[in-house]
Amino acid sequence: MQGLLLQMLEGTVTSLQIFFLTLLFSLPLGFVVAKGRMASFAPIRWITDLYIQIMRGTPLILQLIFVYFAPFYVFGTSYDRFTACIVAFVINYSAYFSEIYRSGLQSIDRGQHEAAKVLGFSKAYTFFHIILPQVVKRILPALGNEVITLVKDTALAQTIGVAELFRVAQTASSREFSTVPIFIAGIFYFIMNYIVSRLFAIGEKKLEYYR
C-alpha cells in the first residue's frame, strides 16, 4: 500500500509539472493570441481565428497524438513524450485563454482608454495600470473554470505514454485487480481542484472592493 501511494505521488508530481508548465507558457501566450485575434491587419486576424477554431474544434486527445507522432512521420525522428505533451497542452490552452482575454479586453468601456489618453498616460501604463486590473477582475471566474479543466485534462497525457497520476493509477489497478488506485487518484484530483478553486475564490474576494 505504501509503495502504491509513493508511486501515485510520483505520478502526481508529473501531473503537477504538466499543470504548471502549461500555465507558465499558455497564460502569457494567450495574450499574444488575443492580440492577434484583435489585430487590425486582417490576415493575422484570420490566421489566429483559424488556429483558435482548430484548437477548440478538435479533441485535445487527438491534438496530443498529432503533436507527438506528426514529427515522426514528417522528419522520421521522434522526441521526448513529456515535451510533446507540454507543447500540445500549451498550444491548446493558449487558444482557450486567448478567447477569455479577448472577451475581457473587449468588455472594458472605450471611455477608460479615452480618459487615460486625455490624462496623458502612456499606452503601456494605460494597459498595465488601468485596463489589465479591470480585465483580471472580470475574467477571473472564467479563468478559474478553465484552470480546473486543465487539472483534469492532465490525465490525457497518458495517451502518449506520459506517466502521470492517472496512468500510474490505471497500471496499478490492473496489476492488483483493484479499483482502489483509481479511487485514490480521484481523491488526488479532487484535492488539487479544491485548492485551485479556493485560490480563485480568494482572488475574486480580494477584487470585490470595487465594481
Binding site: 468601456d109 471611455g111 477608460q112 479615452e114 480618459a115 489618453k117 486625455v118 490624462l119 496623458g120 498616460f121 501604463y125 495600470h129 488601468i130 486590473p133 479591470q134 477582475k137 472592493y209 470595487y210 465594481r211
Partner: protein, 253 residues
C-alpha cells in the same frame, strides 16, 4: 489678451460621412465658449479632435501658441509625437459619463496622472487632490470608490481629476447630460465657479440658460458647420439665423 485656441478650416469625415466641414473659431485665455447644436452636428467630434482623441483630416490648430496640426495641401499635418504629447498636457476633457477609473479610490483617481505623467511626488499630488476635493465639496469621499458616489459626485471627481494636471484649457462634453436636474445644478455651479476664476473653458451643453449666463462667446453648430457665432446675448437673445432660432426655441418651456 493671449490666444488660447486658434482653430481654422477643420474638416473631418468618418468614411463617406462629412462630420465637420469647415470649423473655425478662436478663444482667448480666461474666457468661456459654449457650443450648442442638435445631436449629430459634430460638437463632440470637434472637442475630440482638439483633445487628440480623433485625428483631423484638414485644417489647423494652435493651442497656447503651439501648433498641433496645420493644413498642408488640403491635409492636416500633425506635430511630432513629443510635441503632440506636450500640447495634450495643456488640454483637459470632462466626459458626459465621467469615465472614472473604478478600481482606484477617489483620491487615487486624482493623484495617478499627477504622479505617473507629471512625476509629482506622492505628498504633493495628494495635497493637491485634497484641495481640489475640498473645492468640489467632497473631501469626505477621498477614500471611497467611484461606485459608492452619486453621479453628481462622480462628475465632480472627474472635474477634479482634470484640474489636477493644471490644464490651460478645459473642455466639457455635455457634463450634465447623464444627471438628473438636481445633480445638474451641482455641476453647473462648479463650472460657474471655475468661470469666475477665469479658467479657460469650452462647454458643449444643452443647458441654454446656463450657457448664456457663463459664456463670453457662443457657437451654434449644425450638420458639421458653424451656423452662427457671437456673444451669448446675441446668439441666445436675438439669433440672426432661422436655424438657430428654431433650435433655441425648441428648448423653451
Amino acid at each position: 489678451m493671449k490666444e488660447m485656441i486658434r482653430l481654422s478650416g477643420l474638416r473631418k469625415s468618418f468614411g463617406s460621412l462629412d462630420v465637420l466641414k469647415d470649423i473655425s473659431f478662436t478663444l482667448e485665455e480666461g474666457s468661456v465658449l459654449s457650443i450648442i447644436g442638435p445631436s449629430g452636428s459634430g460638437k463632440s467630434t470637434t472637442l475630440r479632435i482638439i483633445t487628440q482623441l480623433e485625428k483631423a483630416d484638414d485644417g489647423s490648430l494652435e493651442i497656447a501658441g503651439h501648433t498641433l496640426f496645420s493644413s498642408v495641401m488640403g491635409k492636416a499635418v500633425y506635430a511630432r509625437p513629443e510635441e503632440e504629447r506636450l500640447i495634450g498636457l495643456k488640454t483637459g476633457l470632462v466626459f458626459q459619463n465621467f469615465n472614472l477609473f473604478p478600481h482606484f479610490s477617489v483620491l487615487r483617481n486624482i493623484t495617478e496622472a499627477q504622479r505617473a505623467v507629471l512625476k509629482r511626488p506622492k505628498e504633493y499630488a495628494e495635497e493637491k487632490a485634497m484641495k481640489l476635493l475640498e473645492k468640489m465639496g467632497i473631501a469626505d469621499k477621498a477614500r471611497q470608490y467611484p461606485y459608492q458616489l452619486s453621479g453628481g459626485q462622480q462628475q465632480r471627481v472627474s472635474i477634479a481629476r482634470a484640474l489636477a494636471l493644471d490644464p490651460e484649457v478645459l473642455f466639457f462634453d455635455e457634463p450634465t447630460s447623464a444627471l438628473d436636474p438636481e445633480l445638474t445644478r451641482e455641476i453647473l455651479k462648479v463650472i460657474r465657479e471655475l468661470a469666475e476664476e477665469r479658467m479657460t473653458m469650452v462647454v458643449v451643453t444643452h443647458e441654454m440658460h446656463f450657457a448664456r449666463a457663463i459664456s463670453d462667446h457662443a457657437i451654434f453648430m449644425d450638420r458639421g458647420v458653424i451656423v452662427e457665432q457671437g456673444s451669448p446675448d446675441e446668439l441666445f437673445g436675438n439669433p440672426k439665423e432661422e436655424r438657430t432660432r428654431q433650435f433655441i426655441a425648441s428648448f423653451e418651456d
